[in-house]
Amino acid sequence: MTAVLDSPADPSVERRRAVQEAARSSLRRRKLSSRIALGVCWAFLGIAIIPLIGVVVYVVAKGLPAWNLDFFTKSTTPEGIPGGGVWNAIAGTVVITTIAVVVTVPVGLLGGLFLAESDGRAAATLRFTADVMTGVPSITIGIFGYIAMVRNFGGASGIAGAFAIGFIMLPVILRAGETAFRGVPQSLNEAALALGARRATIARKVVVPTALPGVITGVLLAVARGMGETAPLLLTIGGNQYLQWNPTKQMEALPVLIYNNSSQPYADLVQVAWGAALLLVAAVLVLSIGSRLVAARLRKERR
């Protein structure tokens, strides 16, 4: 037994006694609270995972039966008439997304280069603009697309849809581009400059190739986002039950098709919606996972 030399009146000893007593008497309560709280966190994690599993399972279960040859090769048919498909919607989505990408990616990347290379007021304004753009609701972007394209050019069209989708994709590519270009080590830039290269050459031969994985990641993510947007297209492309490759005319698109069919009381139309949903989800997931793989390889190579 350890002899206690300090008299019990020593305040330090008294405090120690009081602290230990508080610690011991509260131990059970504290440990229980901790266990419960951590358990709740685990439960919430489960709750977060459940919808994803639920959605994917249902989309696959209900969408796969809709997939047949006709589904992919025929255009939509009205309710009750068999043999229809979503080929017109696929074509529309592909055309609209392609146009949006072709216009937005160069502009976005050049803007990203601008942001990566300069830090003045102009760059700050541009950055702020891009951030604000990402916060604009997609329905308002659709309204803008309507006003800018549909009104001024005499009607709904695929181009109007591409314009709206491009508006959504642009800030994503801008910021992803800036991040990717900033990631290029300054030493590479300086070495090239010291060798007498022009800035444009440096951009073309040093910055862009080095930043390419990051750029690809950003573009894939932007495309995935653009493909899935519905509201802007609802206001701009007009819909078309026939196959239409000409973007100056009204077109159909997968998200619009899904939206229109979802609320119909006809089972075969809903079935088509599920099939199209599966297609859309598959495409978007492939792009998202693909962009992650590129990002992961980027990190591996950098080490």
Partner: protein, 285 residues
Amino acid sequence: MTDADVGTPSVEDALTAGTEEAMGQPPVGEVVMTLADVAVAFAGRAAVRDVTFDVRAGEVTALIGPSGSGKTTLLRALNRLHDTVRTASVTGSVRLGDLDVYAPSTDPTLLRSRVGMVFQRPNPFPTMSIYENAVAGLKFNGVRKKALLDEAAEAALIAAALWDSVKDRMNAHASTLSGGEQQRLCIARALAVEPEVLLMDEPTSALDPIATKRIEELVVELKDRVTIIIVTHNMQQAMRVSDRCAFLLMGDDKAGELIEFGPTATLFSEPTDPRTLDYVNGRFG
């Protein structure tokens, strides 16, 4: 990782283990902590091994040796900080008085109310005020009475030589203090819980020389009140503040081992082991 990782101690065991007698400060020189064949390994690879020595009350025991010799790893084993590392395993025996530190029935949170720690870089909680930092340990341990909190905070801040500087700005944020003051706040925070042993992991290595000197003076002042085990890579510091030293050195298997343990004066002037002699003569490290 949850607190349940302790195994399933019965709470009654946790409450009674660790004896009431330790409340008072034992007489100077009385053994408060014993280490026997202590070893720490990560994923099977030993980081430190074969450590056996006693820590005595009212003394400052220093763990010295070149970097990589496992001093910090050993220190952290004393308050079970390795519990959170899945790959870590601690073998051997560590006893605090009658308490087996690594017994399944020993609760780590209770243990840490008796064995406090001060870290290498000052780590006051940035969202808390000076007062809240000082009483943080008490609150974690379930102390609620304002009177006790205030009294303990004041006593601890006085002991840490910080009271005069902060008594009028207890609600200011901890980040308004200088580096040396922040470290003293961390010391006060640890002291407020009235631990029996205070572990200090190179507490001055992130501080300027003046702040370092003040903390060293503090360590010597504090040893009457709490037994101190300090890791330092600075031999002169060990000579200045410590009563006993444990010299650790990395062996061929990359694990640190205890080479020699003894009173500081002896270790530095007439060490038994030639490797100790080399180290204190500055031939490596």
